[in-house]
């Protein structure tokens, strides 16, 4: 309880920051969601070109739901700790955090939570409502099941946790590479592909089967498949368990890397 009180100001700062820049956020979002609409048309042509109604178990309207929900979950579970921390390490301002009686990772976490509250409230409703209206028009009935929605939200929270610790660990690479821009783009591209954010893992055959067990699938594929109702209950429980497993692993890795990195940290002046 005292812990929450200690870090609540960071969340408040995060909220204020997001509210101040909400117009920027919306423009950025519109730019990003353009990619979904491009793929909406490309997949439409792909499904029209096929003699079958479904490809690898996905119908066209499944695919549309997949595109937008994976965009949504990608956006909400995104964590840019790697960039923020890397920048502080390079310019030395990280010492200001280290001399205070707070946990390094916790203040990032709580600050980002503030951002997330705003972005969640701005985009969750429009996108899910849009997707559900689309499904309602196609199928003639409401497709969303409330239990699935709750499991989806739970899975997204876990995905965010994994993302957060994964990025924290990755951010410390800045120590060794002294480069943020390039390494961040590389990470983004690789994670996007391996997590199924660009193409559902089901389309990748045996390789996709293997990917389902890797932490990347836990970042995006698992919550989206739960939302779409593609998994039955035993599968859902299994993949949620897997998410918890990866969350613990990455939390431990980040603690370890943090300790190693702090030993190497040299700040000149600052």
């Amino acid at each position: 309880m005292t812990k929450i009180r200690k870090y609540a100001p960071f969340t408040r700062a995060g909220i204020m920051e997001s509210v101040t820049y909400r117009a920027n956020f919306l423009f950025f979002l519109l730019g990003e969601i353009m990619k979904c609409f491009v793929m909406f048309f490309v997949w439409k042509a792909v499904f029209q070109s096929s003699s079958q109604e479904t490809l690898y178990g996905f119908s066209y309207d499944n695919m549309v739901v997949y595109l937008f929900i994976s965009f949504l979950s990608g956006y909400i579970t995104y964590s840019d700790g790697s960039y923020a921390i890397g920048k502080e390490i390079l310019d030395g301002s990280v010492v200001m955090r280290m001399i205070k009686p707070i946990d390094f990772d916790m203040c990032f976490l709580f600050q980002e939570l503030g951002n997330k509250i705003i972005s969640f409230s701005l985009i969750f409703l429009p996108i899910t409502a849009g997707v559900e209206i689309y499904r309602f028009v196609i199928n003639g009935r409401l497709m969303l099941q409330l239990p699935m929605l709750f499991l989806f939200l739970l899975s997204m929270v876990l995905a965010y946790g994994i993302n957060f610790y994964f990025n924290l660990s990755y951010g410390f690479l800045a120590f060794f590479l002294k480069n943020l821009w390039g390494t961040d783009i590389i990470k983004g591209a690789v994670v996007d592909f391996l997590s199924g954010a660009t193409v559902p893992l089901a389309f990748m055959g045996a390789f996709g089967q293997v990917l389902q067990f890797l932490p990347f699938a836990s970042l995006s594929y698992t919550p989206v498949m739960i939302y779409m109702g593609m998994y039955d209950l035993p599968h859902i429980l299994f993949y949620l368990g897997l998410q918890i497993f990866w969350l613990v692993i990455f939390a431990l890795i980040s603690k370890l890397v943090l300790r190693l990195a702090m030993k190497r940290l040299v700040v000149h002046g600052g």
Binding site: F25, V46, N179, G182, I185, F193, T198, F203
Partner: protein, 275 residues
């Protein structure tokens, strides 16, 4: 004019020196851009594994279709004008994100050169070699591995008009960036507006016919990125859409003048941060 060309050369030389200094940064940035494109190409490959060719139907009738090689060609081609703009004129991005907001634009006003030209050419963005590399490789690969009956439609003489129109295609990118960056003179920050408009280019990398009428019109005349990608590419491949070459010149000149106007008005409205 000669003074400006000389200045541009000096700026490029400066950035190449920087490149030699920070080799790892360059390498990682370029690898990053190559990987981003590689993921997209893989995505296309996975899609085409399920279908013989991408077809567009209207009312159940096949209107047009493109083989994997043709789609790769269009995709690769789209990266070339985009990459050249990225290579030469990337500096415009900074305007809307921080230059104006911090009051750093003062610097450009105090030099005896056109402020737009100075911002435009100050930085030479070597990361773009990643995009250009992938673009050229995709174009070459798609042509070389093309089935003979499709390759037979290509007439390499068509490269000449496309090359002539290329500067205008690049100017479409540059003008969109200029016009939206200049909004920051009034609003302090406009980087996200630039981002939003720029991202429309994603539509241009695929056959334009697959989109609905609204998007088709939008990417041909309003934010005309299709003129930089699908139209010239399909013209090289099949000799279709000759009209688009003329439209490219016309539309890009209009866009250019418009973006210059916004810039000029913006510079007048600019107020420094006062520090």
């Amino acid at each position: 004019m000669r003074k400006y060309l000389r200045l541009h050369r000096i700026f490029i030389a400066q950035d190449l020196k920087k490149l030699m200094e920070y080799k790892v940064d360059f390498l990682l940035g370029a690898i990053g851009f190559v990987l981003v494109q590689a993921v997209k190409v893989l995505t296309l490959g996975i899609m085409f594994a399920a279908i013989p060719a991408l077809t567009y139907k209207e009312g159940g009738v096949v209107v047009d279709s493109w083989t994997f090689n043709e789609v790769l060609f269009i995709y690769g081609f789209s990266l070339i004008p985009k990459g050249i703009d990225h290579l030469l004129f990337d500096n415009l991005w900074g305007m809307g994100y921080w230059v104006v907001a911090k009051g750093d634009f003062d610097k450009y006003l105090t030099r005896p050169v056109n402020s737009w030209f100075y911002v435009l050419t100050e930085k030479f963005c070597v990361d773009a070699f990643g995009d250009l590399f992938v673009g050229v490789v995709l174009v070459l690969y798609s042509v070389l591995s093309m089935p003979a009956e499709i390759a037979a439609d290509i007439n390499w003489l068509r490269l000449i008009p496309v090359a002539l129109v290329m500067p205008f295609a690049i100017m479409i990118y540059t003008s969109v960036k200029t016009g939206t960056a200049a909004i920051s003179f009034w609003t302090k920050r406009s980087g996200h507006i630039t981002h939003m408009c720029y991202m429309t280019n994603e539509f241009a990398s695929y056959p334009t016919k697959i989109y609905n009428r609204f998007i088709k019109t939008f990417i041909t005349y309003i934010l005309p990125f299709a003129l930089t990608a699908y139209y010239p590419a399909i013209y090289i491949l099949r000799g279709e859409s000759v009209w688009s070459l003329g439209v490219t010149v016309g539309v890009s000149v209009i866009l250019f003048l418009l973006s210059q106007l916004i810039w000029k008005l913006g510079v007048k409205a600019y107020e420094s941060a006062g520090s």
